[in-house]
Amino acid sequence: MERVSPGEAVSAGISLKIAVASGKGGTGKTLVSTNLFSTLLVAEHQGSLVDCDAEAPNDFLFFKGEAAGSFEVTQMVPVIDTDRCTYCGRCRDDCHYNAIFILPSVPMIRVMEELCHGCGACTVACQEGAITEKEVSLGRVSHLAVDAFHRLTEARMNEGVYSPVPVIKAAIREAGHTGITLLDAPPGTSCPFIQTVSRADYVVLVTEPTPFGLSDLRQSVETLKTIGKPCGVVVNRAGLGNREVYDYLTAEQIPLLMEIPFDRELAALYARGMVAASVDLSWREQFTQLLNNILTHYGNSHYQW
């Protein structure tokens, strides 16, 4: 198999989505995604970064650019016409999320919008034509153009919304589809994580060489196995902790893509909202190498370029 540089891959019309995830937030997932994005900028590869951590998005803090549009993500919720409603209770019975409350004796009917998932079951259930629907906001997707070829996209859900998933889906859908798209995935292994990684071609898991790190990594790997996504691992804060994570990678035959040693200088740059690969040549080289490793392993696992 021939090795192809990211630049060549992009000019050959490749579009590739790489998710950067970790079982838990704060292991360096944002550090890795922002630095990878920075190497795309420097090398003039077309690409984008989508911040899918809709509960706590902050990738925008690390880059300067121009606002390039944003839109509201909405869902439908029922509106009840009390002139037509007979308080029969069919809509309440069919609502699996207990979002409709009825007191026929008053009579009163109320939709609890924060519980509603917008499934439409109540509209189907009502025999009286008493239900119409309106749109309510779940959050917002915003774009930031760093230059002509590179864009950041942020998914941000409103406080109190039942799930970040609709906003995440919309952000990934609206992000660029040419070149390399990086997805900064939400923490955990539940729905938001799965909805993000299932849209990626390759998953980079960031972990720490500690018992907590290993436990989270195991859970992420098991989840990725069930949906059949290839993955590789970046060990952050290498040098602290123990060797168990490495033994696990060997046993599972998961590629170690990069080790980032614990480094006060790197931590300080990150703390100030600076991207190491943008200001330091040696970090830029290391993260470019990471991108090359990802492309090589992705190619090995799935794609003959």
Binding site: E159, P211, D216, A267
Partner: protein
């Protein structure tokens, strides 16, 4: 007394701090509410005394012996979970929200709803008291309800502790973010501790977490962990807290003993009782308990 420890985002050292408090307290019930990535059991290895199945929701499943591939369900599903592939109607399990609508509209009654039952709640004793944690199975939902189940169990275990002198202390280790499981974790607690670290994104996440906690009308205080990694930003965070009227519970320096303790399956005060980090943790804990007692009076 119920204290929740949260952070706008994971990785601030919140769990290590919670573990330290558990080791310092008396009559402790430790509840790991980070049901997506529970990990305190790794440090405390609790006896596995009780396990309960948690039904997180339901998923639609098609009986292909009955399905005529009419595709009506596809039109009704609002979660894009049903597709047709080469004449076969398929439900994408990871996208199904469990709303039951497809099962109702199917003229052949070919769709059944099956319980998602892989998640668990586990409870038992550990060396400083009682412990309970939830484990949400990958891809399962409704973590907020599992958090509620964990908290109910924690309250029941606390009530069962006979307490000479001090009331039992329930410590809740919260999930990252500001979503539904976080709200479930802090609803009704006596005090919310938010752990942050000195970085721009840390400050950003802290502000969101404070907003949520204040909206829930909880007493809030802040711990800056690894403060010495960026003293100037730590000062800025402390200043922001003063300005926002949020109490500073204390600052903890960065140290490798935190990871060393974890590798040895110990809390920090157990592993390095004389270390500066442990000293800080003890004084923060003391402040926390006395200010909670004051608030409760």
């Amino acid at each position: 007394m119920e204290i929740a420890i949260i952070s706008g985002k994971g990785g601030t050292g919140k769990s290590s701090i919670t573990a330290a408090f558990a080791a310092l307290g008396r009559q402790v019930v430790l509840a790991d509410c980070d049901v997506d990535a529970a990990n305190l059991y790794l440090l405390f290895n609790p006896a596995h005394e009780e396990e309960q199945i948690y039904i997180s929701g339901q998923k639609a499943v098609i009986d292909y012996a009955v399905c005529t591939s009419c595709g009506i369900c596809i039109d009704y599903c609002r979660f894009d979970a049903i597709t047709e592939k080469e004449g076969r109607v398929e439900i994408l399990e990871t996208s199904c929200d469990g709303c039951h609508l497809c099962a109702r509209v199917c003229p052949e009654k070919a769709i059944a709803m099956v319980n998602s039952d892989q998640s668990r709640m586990v409870a038992g004793s550990f060396r400083f008291g009682k412990m309970v944690y939830g484990r949400l199975a990958p891809g399962e939902e409704n973590s907020g309800k599992l958090v509620n189940m964990v908290r109910e169990k924690a309250s029941a275990m606390a009530a069962a502790l006979t307490s000479p002198g001090q009331p039992p202390l329930i410590l809740l280790d919260g999930p990252p973010g500001i979503g539904c499981p976080v709200i479930s974790t802090i609803t009704g607690v006596d005090h919310v501790v938010i752990v942050t670290e000195p970085s721009l994104s840390g400050l950003h996440d802290l502000q969101r977490a404070v907003a949520v906690a204040l909206k829930m009308e909880r007493k809030v205080s802040v711990i800056i962990n690894k403060w010495d990694l960026h003293p100037a930003l730590s000062n800025e965070i402390a200043a922001w807290c003063r300005h926002a009227g949020v109490a500073m519970a204390g600052q903890i320096p960065f140290s490798e003993v935190v990871v060393e303790a974890m590798v040895h399956q110990k809390s920090i005060p157990e592993w390095a009782p004389d270390h500066e980090v442990s000293t800080q943790l003890r004084s923060i804990f003391k402040w926390l308990i006395s200010s909670c007692l004051l608030e409760m009076k």
